[in-house]
Symmetry: C2
Subunit: 309 residues, 2 copies
């Protein structure tokens, strides 16, 4: 799957991922109205609204991008109905040839991590049959529990040729509270980064490892350091756009081959129609606004990568 | 909800929680057979089997215990059908008067943590209506992202009078890999414990805070220290029984009032019928075996607390 991701990035020339994190407030009124007319102002109605919203954005952008990253929390808030919309979104994106990164940030002790890994990336045995529960291509994972929380995920990834992005340095303002603490003069995130490189060495694709890392766009200096600590790990970079990161801050997240990072934007793409720059499209054409925002993002990042050569 | 938990612990004299973590391999054959006969060897069949298994255990133990802790990973592995069984389990346990601790170990950046908090502990707005998604009483949360990943959970807990157990020192063998690292001579778990006390001071019940901590039974020395660092926080203690912890190791997780900790056992209770000590019940009467295991666990812990007086 890491090979497919690299291949798709090279073909689209777009090291970006669209974050499908649909707050109900992002969904244009006409889409909400239609869903509520059919299912009422219910969890089912909300789930239908976010699914239709996602579908339109995917239809208008899938040819430009290699991957999407649905944030499961945004679906989980609507209970079971939301999880059904999550699964529909995963399946639909895969049918469009997109790589799907499930932003689930799971992580637990051994046997429990194994169950999460099976549910999101693997297959579960029921009697004589096997089934895939959610079946994303990659999942994000939290490292706080250490190696025996991570290894069951790696094992399932090996079987299924799937991958992980492990939280190393997150994009939020208080990420430093624990992650930046110095241990023998070295910040915790660097120590986690070294572990990611170690776990990743055990499951390599052609040029990059199946085991990647999450490093926020909002911390470019740390990105520069972590790029060197984990040379073979892809870095998933959240925090572009709405959270403040820009193309020029991101060049050091990439390797000299122009690869090694994939930059996520969520609100900046999916709610583009609400921004002044894309207001001309109108809420009716929110998908076209998202397409234009994707094009601008690709240009920003490609331009920054070219300028840095 | 922390007041209800304290009250129920005092009434049952049982500072314990039953972990409803149903691996399919724990479910007796006759329960599996019946579920598969109705729904086939499908995800729906597996979900029915674990739900019927849970229901029997709850029916046979609810009068002895204050709380249950379903581990969502064990349901998530069966996809949407598994999540439906999770929700059924949560609702059924609440109808029996039990406090439900959703062992979900969620955690993300601000707005995303808010969505998880809404989905598991709060209510989501859809048009003019509000709905509770999963509606547990407590949730476990991962602290790696720092304060702004935790505070949205605390805000929802304040509104709903619900609570959290934040991972501090986990029970698994490699928990020390990051959690034990020394920062200015103090381990990371102690620093996280200090933060739990700080977050908890902001949301107090009558005698204990709504914001508790997870500290593994397998680390009694650390439990002793953390008890002092977070005097007003309840400690959820996993790792009893199958993972190796025993009553005598646990006395220092409690305060002098005999409160302040709640000890979890999962496999040791729900799969008791597979142990030699309870084999006499037979797989047919697995619920009675679980009841006997609960009684033995209460005796072990109460005995240790008495002996330490």
């Amino acid at each position: 799957m890491i090979n497919k991701l690299v291949d798709k990035i090279q073909k689209t020339k777009a090291p970006i991922v669209v974050g499908l994190d649909p707050m109900l407030s992002y969904v244009p009124e006409h889409v909400q109205k239609k869903a509520f007319a059919e299912f009422g102002e219910t969890l089912e109605g909300a789930a239908e609204a976010i699914w239709q919203f996602n579908k339109e954005i995917v239809d208008k952008t899938y040819d430009l991008i290699p991957a999407v990253k649905p944030q499961v929390a945004m679906y989980e808030q609507f209970g079971i109905e939301g999880m059904i919309a999550y699964k529909k979104t995963v399946d639909y994106c895969k049918s469009k040839g997109l790589v799907v990164i499930g932003d689930v940030k799971r992580g637990d002790i051994g046997s429990t991590s194994a169950a999460y890994a099976v549910g999101h990336l693997g297959k579960v045995k029921v009697g004589n049959n096997t089934y895939a529960g959610f079946d994303e291509d990659f999942a994000t994972v939290n490292p706080y529990l250490g190696s025996d929380g991570i290894k069951p995920f790696v094992e399932v990834c090996k079987e299924e040729k799937k991958g992980l992005f492990i939280l190393v340095k997150t994009s939020n303002p208080s990420s430093g509270e624990f992650q930046d603490q110095l241990i023998d003069g070295k910040p915790l995130y660097e120590m986690v980064g070294e572990k990611v490189a170690e776990w990743g060495a055990d499951h390599m694709g052609d040029s990059y490892s199946y085991i990647g890392a999450v490093v926020g766009a909002t911390y470019p200096e740390q990105g520069k350091l972590l790029r060197k600590v984990m040379p073979k790990s892809f870095i998933l970079v959240p925090g572009y756009g709405a959270q403040g990161g820009q193309g020029k801050d991101l060049v050091h997240f990439f390797n000299e081959d122009g690869l090694g990072a994939i930059v996520n934007s969520s609100r900046g793409i999916i709610a583009a129609y609400k921004q002044e720059a894309y207001a001309k499209f109108g809420a009716e054409n929110f998908g076209d606004a998202s397409r234009a925002a994707v094009e601008a993002m690709i240009e920003d990042i490609q331009g920054a990568l070219e300028a840095a050569k």
